[in-house]
Symmetry: D2
Subunit: 135 residues, 4 copies
């Protein structure tokens, strides 16, 4: 298991007329979370793409526990719970202080940019995470 | 069961550098779908709010089957498969022609704006859908 | 002079906690307006890109006359007032019924995708608009 | 004159299929800039709203100098060049390192939330900025 935390301050642009953060924004917050998780592992997602891979979403789930509001600072915890095989799953918990705002996950396919086809988790990625999943 | 279809043309703003529609946009498309479903039932979501109710999301799920691209016209089919009790669930299928782009659902709590508390599906809403769920 | 009108219904996602449409959204509405203007001229912006050109923004101006609200249908009028030379300028007026919501303009450079350099308005585009600017 | 700097990392969500940051996003970056400028002055925009005022946009201008790309860290410099009277004007410069990405401004009306009418710059705001505009 390996996880990472990052924070974002809620913008006016993120809110809707209910005064809540708009529901679709959470997938953007998940993106920020996993980008920082991958960076913490030692590689930017950008360099992952430059190495010829993409990680488009297979699916995504968000559970809304409690609204987040304008100007609050949310903390996104992103966790890789298991070594990816054909698919990469990342779990997220978003909090404001002790208040859980949202939980969820995204699953991603590894796609070779050259062939446009799914591949297994590439060596370049495995090398980064192997140490976290040793028996 | 009752369902509704509406279409949206993909904007440049919806795309990302993979040339795909950005994953978080689908929750916005689901919003457009259910808004039109509720309108087709005979009430705008706006008048539902004016009657003192809100429908914040409980959770949301999106499965990405095939990317959508700039300038394509997506068709969003939104379906109410069962009579809501404490929670309203709407299912979605997004297509471009015959190609399935995404499927998913959102679940919503009925919240009284006055008390801020969850309520059962209000009469104003039940009246609209009763005819579709007669045994 | 040539102009085009198109409509958009305001989404919950477009609103902010002031209950107004968020100010940044107007540039997205302008995009929809000019896309439909170009389509009305006889070419999709997509095919313009496929022909090897891009129209990135040089600058943009928005004046906010009156707020727009959730579920309102805005009408975007996009106008090409003069034949473009090095730069393409499009003017916009957004209305809800008779109420003027916003006015503004965007100016665009013609960029060759091959060289990444600015070019004059290409033949493929001139052909579409010449009839509107005959002396 | 008083100014403030803050940084934002470009998200995948911010990009479009040209691989550039989408033009409408800059108004969101300007929002982040002025929020931090006001916070640096000693008050959150949130508490400004809680004191009964709003700052809706009167107009906005963006000039796009050079594209910004995914994962780049942009620096937003927001400047209040003159003491506001009926209207507040803030100027912005966005840079990536030494590269100027965009410049622009927003002008805002001071609106009383109670009356919905424009007011002069309120005392609560004047107190924060007086020291920067002493002759």
């Amino acid at each position: 298991m390996v996880s990472s935390k990052t924070t974002i301050r809620i913008r006016y642009a993120d809110t809707d007329q209910m005064k809540y953060v708009y529901n679709g924004k959470y997938l953007e917050f998940f993106e920020v979370g996993r980008t920082e998780l991958i960076r913490d592992l030692g590689m930017s997602y950008k360099s992952f793409e430059e190495a010829g891979y993409m990680l488009p979403l297979y699916d995504a789930y968000v559970k809304y526990h409690s609204p987040a509001f304008y100007d609050e600072v949310i903390e996104i915890e992103s966790t890789l719970n298991q070594k990816p095989m054909a698919r990469l799953r990342i779990d997220y918990t978003i909090r404001v202080g002790d208040r859980v705002i949202a939980t969820g996950y995204t699953q991603h396919a590894f796609i070779s940019a050259e062939t446009g086809k799914p591949t297994r988790s590439p060596e370049i990625f495995n090398k980064l995470i192997d140490k976290y999943f040793k028996e």
